[in-house]
C-alpha cells in the first residue's frame, strides 16, 4: 500500500463509544490524528459535515471518508487493518462472530441503564441500579474463567465493554453501590484490560468522568 493513509478520529474524551475506537486503533497500531470535539457545548462544522445524520462522536475519517457509529467503526478497523500478525477482534467462525455481535449490542443497553442512575431521580434511579447490576452480572457469567471475552486475547466484546469501567466510579457515587462488591470477577477483568496500553491510554480518569457528569447534571437541571 504505497498511498499515505490519513486517519482522523473525531471524539470527546468522556465518550465510551469513542474509547472503543481508540482502543481498536491502538491495538492495530494505526497512526491517527485525534481531533477533540466538545459535543456538549460546541459541535464543530467538521463534525456536522462528517456525521450529518446523528451529529455525534466518534467519527473515523479515513482518507477523507467518514465512518460513524462505534461498533461499525470497530468492525471497519478490524476488517481493514488485517494480516501482518495484527490482532483480530472478531472470531473467524460465523456462529462465534454472531455471538460476539449479540453481546456487543447488549452492552449498549448497559450504558442506558447506567445513565438512569446519574440523570434521573427517585424510582428511575433504583430501576437503573438494578438493571445495571443485573446486566454486569450477566456479562460476568459470560466471561466465565476466560481472561478476556475474546478468549486468550482482547476481542470485540472486551473492546465494547471495557470503556464503561471508567464510568463505574460515577455510577457508584450517584447510585451508592459498589460494582466491585457485586461483580468482583468483572472488575478483575477490567483491571486486566487496563494493563494494556491501548486501554489505559483510552480510558480517562474515573474521577474526571464523575466531575464531567456533575457538570452535565447541572446543565440539564437535574440537581435542583
Amino acid at each position: 500500500m504505497g498511498k499515505s493513509e490519513e486517519v482522523v478520529l473525531l471524539n470527546y474524551w468522556p465518550s465510551p463509544y469513542g474509547m472503543r475506537a481508540m482502543i481498536a486503533l491502538a491495538e492495530k497500531g494505526v497512526q491517527y490524528e485525534y481531533v477533540s470535539v466538545d459535543v456538549v457545548n460546541n459541535k464543530t462544522q467538521l463534525l456536522l459535515q462528517m456525521n450529518p445524520v446523528h451529529k455525534k462522536v466518534p467519527v473515523l475519517i479515513h482518507n477523507g471518508s467518514p465512518v460513524c457509529e462505534s461498533l461499525v467503526i470497530v468492525q471497519y478497523i478490524d476488517e481493514l487493518w488485517a494480516g501482518d500478525a495484527k490482532p483480530v477482534f472478531l472470531p473467524s467462525d460465523p456462529y462465534q462472530r454472531a455471538q460476539a455481535r449479540f453481546w456487543a449490542h447488549y452492552i449498549d443497553e448497559i450504558f442506558e441503564f447506567g445513565r438512569k442512575i446519574w440523570i434521573k431521580t427517585g424510582e428511575e434511579v433504583e430501576k437503573g441500579k438494578k438493571e445495571l447490576v443485573d446486566s454486569l452480572k450477566l456479562m460476568e457469567s459470560q466471561l466465565g474463567d476466560k481472561p478476556y471475552f475474546g478468549g486468550e486475547e482482547l476481542g470485540y466484546v472486551d473492546i465494547a465493554l471495557v470503556p464503561y469501567y471508567s464510568w463505574f466510579y460515577t455510577y457508584e457515587q450517584f447510585g451508592n453501590i459498589s460494582i466491585e462488591a457485586e461483580c468482583p470477577k468483572l472488575v478483575d477483568w477490567a483491571k486486566r484490560c487496563m494493563k494494556k496500553e491501548s486501554v489505559n491510554k483510552a480510558l480517562p480518569d474515573p474521577v474526571k468522568v464523575h466531575d464531567f457528569v456533575v457538570m452535565l447534571r447541572k446543565k440539564f437541571g437535574v440537581d435542583s
Binding site: 471518508s65 457509529e69 461499525v72 471497519y76 476488517e79 460465523p94 454472531a98 449479540f102
Partner: protein
C-alpha cells in the same frame, strides 16, 4: 452436514421479515415456527432467555438472535448465494451504518404514530417523514440501497413497507406524496419473490395494530 434451520418468528414482525427475506433470497430451506408473543413457547424462552424476543434463528440447535445479526450470519454462512453485504470494508461499513439508522429510528418513531394522538402524534409523524426523506437522499438514483441488487439495507428497511398503510391511516398522512422515490424503491423490491412472499397484506397489519391497541388499552 445436515443443515437444520428453524426460525422462531411472528408474521407481522418487520424484524422477522428481514430474516425470511434473506433466507429466501439465498434459496435456503427453513422451518418457520409462528410464536404467540402473548404466550411464548418454551423453545423461545430457552433459545432467547435474555430478551425473550423473536426472531431467533436456530441453526443445528444453536440460536442466533437479533435480526441484523441473524441476517449477517446468514450472509456469511451462505456467502456464495445472493450476497447481501458489500465485499469491500468501506461500503460494508456504510451498509451497517444505514441498517443501524433504520433500527434506531424507524420502528420506534413509527410506533409513536399509532400509539399517540394530537400534538405528540403530529410530531412523531413529522419526525418519521424526516427519517424517510433521509433514507431517500441516501438511496439517490440507485435502484436499491445495495446498488444494482437487493442488499443488506434494502432487506433491513423493506419490511416496514407492509406497515406504511397502518402508519398512514393512524397518522392521517401520505407516505407516497412525501416520499415518492422511496415508494418507487419499495415497489421495485416487491417484485422480488423473496419480498412479496414475506411481506403480509398491509390491511392485515393495520387490523393487527387496531387489536394490539385494544389489548394495550390505547384508545
Amino acid at each position: 452436514m445436515a443443515n437444520e434451520l428453524i426460525l422462531l418468528d411472528t408474521w407481522v414482525s418487520p424484524f422477522g421479515m428481514r430474516v425470511r427475506i434473506a433466507l429466501r433470497e439465498k434459496g435456503i430451506k427453513f422451518e418457520y415456527k409462528e410464536e404467540d408473543l402473548t404466550n411464548k413457547s418454551d423453545l423461545l424462552l430457552k433459545m432467547n432467555p435474555i430478551h425473550k424476543k423473536i426472531p431467533v434463528l436456530i441453526h443445528n440447535g444453536k440460536p442466533v438472535r437479533e435480526s441484523g445479526i441473524i441476517v449477517q450470519y446468514v450472509d456469511e454462512v451462505w456467502h456464495d448465494k445472493a450476497p447481501l453485504l458489500p465485499s469491500e470494508p468501506y461500503p460494508r461499513a456504510q451498509a451497517r451504518f444505514w441498517a443501524d439508522f433504520v433500527d434506531k429510528k424507524i420502528y420506534d418513531t413509527g410506533r409513536k404514530i399509532w400509539t399517540t394522538k394530537g400534538d405528540e402524534q403530529k410530531s412523531a409523524t413529522e419526525e418519521f417523514i424526516g427519517y424517510l426523506k433521509t433514507l431517500e437522499a441516501e438511496l439517490g438514483d440507485k435502484p436499491y440501497f445495495g446498488g444494482e441488487k437487493l442488499g443488506y439495507v434494502d432487506v433491513t428497511m423493506i419490511p416496514f413497507y407492509s406497515w406504511f398503510h397502518a402508519y398512514e391511516v393512524s397518522g392521517n398522512f401520505s407516505i407516497e406524496s412525501n416520499c415518492p422515490k422511496l415508494m418507487a424503491w419499495a415497489k421495485r423490491c416487491m417484485q422480488h419473490e423473496s419480498v412479496s412472499k414475506t411481506l403480509p397484506d398491509p390491511k392485515k397489519v393495520y387490523e393487527f395494530i387496531l387489536q394490539l391497541k385494544k389489548r394495550l388499552g390505547i384508545e
